[in-house]
């Protein structure tokens, strides 16, 4: 049974996301960022010293929230599909491509001090100059690179 609509509109999700960032700051005085949550979760999984354990809970919470959506939509269900990219690239090639893209994101986000959530939503909301500069950069690079891929694939991607 599908309880949630296929895609909840931006004018509902956006303001609620903003309120979540505000609430987390207002109550806990903590920045909502996924990259450091990944880093601390890795430390925990590798049984190393975790500096900020609340970030592991943030990671677990993110997974739980997404899982709830999946359940409300009748899932989760195992799939090998990957949108348009999955229809154009064979799985054997797609796996190293996605691993490499993930590696670039992880390396870049850690280097930059945040990702789309840490810089793009949280840092921009705090009007942090570093986050504004980082968000403008990754947006510009991602849009340019997507257009580049679109052109070199003859418009297929």
């Amino acid at each position: 049974m599908h309880i949630l609509p296929d895609r909840v509109p931006w004018y509902i999700v956006g303001p609620l996301m903003g309120l979540t960032v505000v609430a987390f700051f207002a109550i806990a005085n903590k920045p909502m960022g996924a990259t450091t949550a990944y880093a601390e979760t890795f430390q925990f999984a590798a049984r190393r010293k975790v500096k900020e354990f609340w970030r592991v809970w943030l990671f677990v919470g993110m997974a739980a929230g997404a899982l709830l959506v999946s359940v409300l939509r009748g899932g989760p269900s195992l799939t090998m599909s990957y949108g348009l990219l999955g229809t154009l690239v064979p799985v054997g090639l797609l796996i190293p491509i996605l691993f490499g893209a993930g590696l670039a994101m992880g390396f870049g986000a850690r280097w930059s001090g945040g990702c789309t959530s840490g810089h793009g939503i949280r840092g921009m909301s705090a009007l942090s100059p570093a986050s504004i500069a980082a968000t403008m950069t990754f947006m510009a690079v991602a849009v340019s690179f997507t257009f580049f891929l679109h052109i070199v694939t003859g418009g297929s991607l």
Binding site: N29, G106, G113
Partner: protein, 153 residues
């Protein structure tokens, strides 16, 4: 604190998945400027949060962990270079850290490889950072010891 973090994370993860940001095609269409929804979602999130946080900051809002600290940082070169590398990966994967997690818990096997890459990239960057600051730390320690020896002498 752990319970609050879990709830905040759950709300964020729920919203990311509810908006289908864990769908490659949604992010790809956004980055090809074919549909404005994700940009509008980000803008409305910031539009709600930025003035509220600015007001709370001006009023010296008290949290459970002291006075509100928005952690505003000045721009440094690493913010730009790192973001450029991140942007290239984002364009290829059509996913970023929270959507990749949402994708994986929703049953996407290929999302696991994005997450594996993310963990590897983060660990790799930490290793580079640790190596690059070690010589500086050694130099600092050496100069402090020399100074201390000078004072004692």
């Amino acid at each position: 604190m752990n319970r609050i973090s879990f709830l905040a994370g759950a709300a964020f993860g729920f919203l990311v998945a509810a908006a289908r940001l864990n769908d490659y095609n949604v992010i790809h269409d956004m980055l090809l400027l074919r549909e404005p929804d994700v940009f509008l979602m980000m803008a409305s999130a910031i539009g709600v949060a930025a003035p509220t946080l600015a007001y709370m900051n001006r009023k010296h809002w008290r949290t459970l962990d002291g006075e509100l600290n928005l952690r505003r940082q000045p721009v440094s070169r690493k913010n730009i270079t790192g973001a450029a590398v991140f942007g290239a990966g984002w364009a290829v994967a059509g996913s970023c850290p929270v959507p990749a997690l949402a994708m994986t818990v929703g049953g996407s096997v290929l999302g696991l490889f994005v997450m594996a890459g993310l963990f590897t990239g983060i660990v790799l960057r930490d290793a580079v950072e640790a190596r690059s600051i070690q010589p500086l730390l050694r130099r600092f320690r050496a100069s402090s010891e020399t100074e201390a020896a000078g004072v004692q002498g």
